[in-house]
Symmetry: C4
Subunit: 233 residues, 4 copies
Amino acid sequence: MLEKLKEQVCEANLELVRRGVVIYTWGNVSGVDRERGLVVIKPSGVDYEGMKPDDMVVVNLITGETVDGHYKPSSDTPTHLELYRAFPTIGGITHTHSINAVAFAQAGLDIPALGTTHADYFYGSIPCTRELSQQEVEEAYEMNTGKVIVECIKELRLDPMAIPGIIVKNHGPFSWGKDAASSVYHAVVMDVVAEMNLKTLLLNPNAEMKQYVLDKHYMRKHGPDAYYGQGKQ
Amino acid sequence: MLEKLKEQVCEANLELVRRGVVIYTWGNVSGVDRERGLVVIKPSGVDYEGMKPDDMVVVNLITGETVDGHYKPSSDTPTHLELYRAFPTIGGITHTHSINAVAFAQAGLDIPALGTTHADYFYGSIPCTRELSQQEVEEAYEMNTGKVIVECIKELRLDPMAIPGIIVKNHGPFSWGKDAASSVYHAVVMDVVAEMNLKTLLLNPNAEMKQYVLDKHYMRKHGPDAYYGQGKQ
Amino acid sequence: MLEKLKEQVCEANLELVRRGVVIYTWGNVSGVDRERGLVVIKPSGVDYEGMKPDDMVVVNLITGETVDGHYKPSSDTPTHLELYRAFPTIGGITHTHSINAVAFAQAGLDIPALGTTHADYFYGSIPCTRELSQQEVEEAYEMNTGKVIVECIKELRLDPMAIPGIIVKNHGPFSWGKDAASSVYHAVVMDVVAEMNLKTLLLNPNAEMKQYVLDKHYMRKHGPDAYYGQGKQ
Amino acid sequence: MLEKLKEQVCEANLELVRRGVVIYTWGNVSGVDRERGLVVIKPSGVDYEGMKPDDMVVVNLITGETVDGHYKPSSDTPTHLELYRAFPTIGGITHTHSINAVAFAQAGLDIPALGTTHADYFYGSIPCTRELSQQEVEEAYEMNTGKVIVECIKELRLDPMAIPGIIVKNHGPFSWGKDAASSVYHAVVMDVVAEMNLKTLLLNPNAEMKQYVLDKHYMRKHGPDAYYGQGKQ
């Protein structure tokens, strides 16, 4: 079932390796089929080498039950499901432990919007969530990770498609997009932007970008009058 | 039309990928045919993989109108055109978001001339432009980016062929040279020099190089009595 | 003799090169056969290129004497033997000079537990040993390096399988695991974590992680109720 | 003439590229034939790609005159000749602009001996030379670069084979060894050590290593009773 989505999700997982944002079994990508209420996700703790579409696991979007696949789904599945349920516009989710984004997560700092590379994809700072409480960690860690992400996005009144990623304190980045491939793209960009911004802050701790530059760069790619790229045919 | 220049410009764009200074669709290279008043440039938002000379776009140097090609030109085309019109000696232009040069751009700092690697290609600090005003950004962002670069080079009374690159505040590097390939070469060197200089400043915030070392290294490669390399046959 | 273990140890040594944590002849991996009281280890100062299982050296776990092989064993062999003798649960040991772990070793600082990447493999800070005394260095350097590691682990009352690595002051990382491959895995993770934590500390010198997050992440992979991965079949 | 030495020197130059310490035409390696009083060196400003032994240039050790080859020798040839004339034990010399060693050179700081990776190859800090005077730069820059290196080594009473490299202020590293390949090896190690030590100093500006650790590590590889490696057969 869901052969096409399995292919997309498998390919998006393999792209993580090619782009150098994961090693070993780290990271995971999923995609959702909204009509059927099903999520396709990487299996837990399985090597990328030799991974095939048929190894992907299908889980129920609401109940989280596995409905297809010969492996257990990623242990981060409950986090993915929380995000899909809270944000109906997103179609794919990626989680990595990419080094530069993790550095900001461990520092407990937002990745600030300091330049146009950032502004081309993220319409403002990439927020760092609050710390999970001991109770949240012990009772339902992965689900509560998702809830804390959702809480952070909602409290800041962000459009998840305009800030397609976040970093979880002491953990690392989650990103999303219209589909699995797009969420990987945002994971890669987030790590590059984090490296740029770390280096920027070492040179100038007071660096900042004007709001109107952020507006312009984001809008020329994503606004109603976007003119970057070849347009929709 | 302009088959040879399209080949050179396409090849120069692909070189950006091989040298690791761009990912995805980031960056763009152009070349100019001064006699015909035409500029050949990378299409907007198109992947490097599989890019062919025939995909390059030809625009009018004065009017900016597309005169050949099946794609829209790079959204940064107006910036390139401003530079070609202001600096008659340059034949090719490159724009990237390479990480180390961007770090200086986001920090709002010149890339200082601290060593002979820098001096072999750039006869002095690589300047960081002033911030564009809100009006400049909103009215004609890409053209005004070009105007701010030209203003910076002219105010500092620099010879653009002696300082073949600049960083635009909060944005990133633009570089140029006698042709498209040369502008890519300068883009790569600028990022290496930026990494060297960032690390130097972390070790010693007061690092500097004497003017006579700068003079010597630049002149032995580029002066009237240059003796580096195999000479002109 | 020990053909299977030689294959595993040779393969683990070659993996060091593929993972980019050693260059030239740096680093070494060993594995132990507890029943026979024998250790298989990389030969001293031999290139990785072309290295074959038959080039591995077999030494006696107790006496350190070479009992098989056409090369001299790694000069670090006495360090490995000390660790195998002190920690009966470990089956493989790796030593590298990987850049980021060495930076902490040279700084004389523990690699602090700042995030879940760390917590997935190391149940607490990765300690930095005390400095060896002049007498310890001059009398039996490699053996005393082992003794200082053992002393550090015991004084901190650590389970070596829960903190499967350490950094030796002014020297570099040693790691271990259930077998040779596992010790390499921990060497690679330690260097990635060291890079993350160095960058974190540059952003926020006061960064820290709550104990309950460390508990959760370590236990979901390694505790009695571990649920990460596909489980034991 | 000197076919064997040309092959060694060409191969050593190509190794610079494979090890990632040079790009474009940067860097150069030479080797000396002491009996004939001739030096074989890379041609000036020629690409590494497709470089053949026959492209190497032979110059007279005393006069510096080109005695064989179809190219001009590296512009740094006078620096190499000064070193060969001052240090009769060295057989090969390498110059690069590798990023981390250059950072120390631009900072005007010695690369301090902070760990055993350093101590395995360099018996003490790798010194940074004094700045050349304006007169030295203008009159005979490359020759005086060599003289300043020699002055530095002699003033510090160093054995050039025990400290097989140096960094020239505002310029970059020169290294040497018993032959061309060995000088490249030391160039690569110097850059790795520079990266380690830069990161160490960011973590702990007061980091240091005891003299007796330096003694031990250097001597176990290079002393009269060296026991690292497979020994001389």
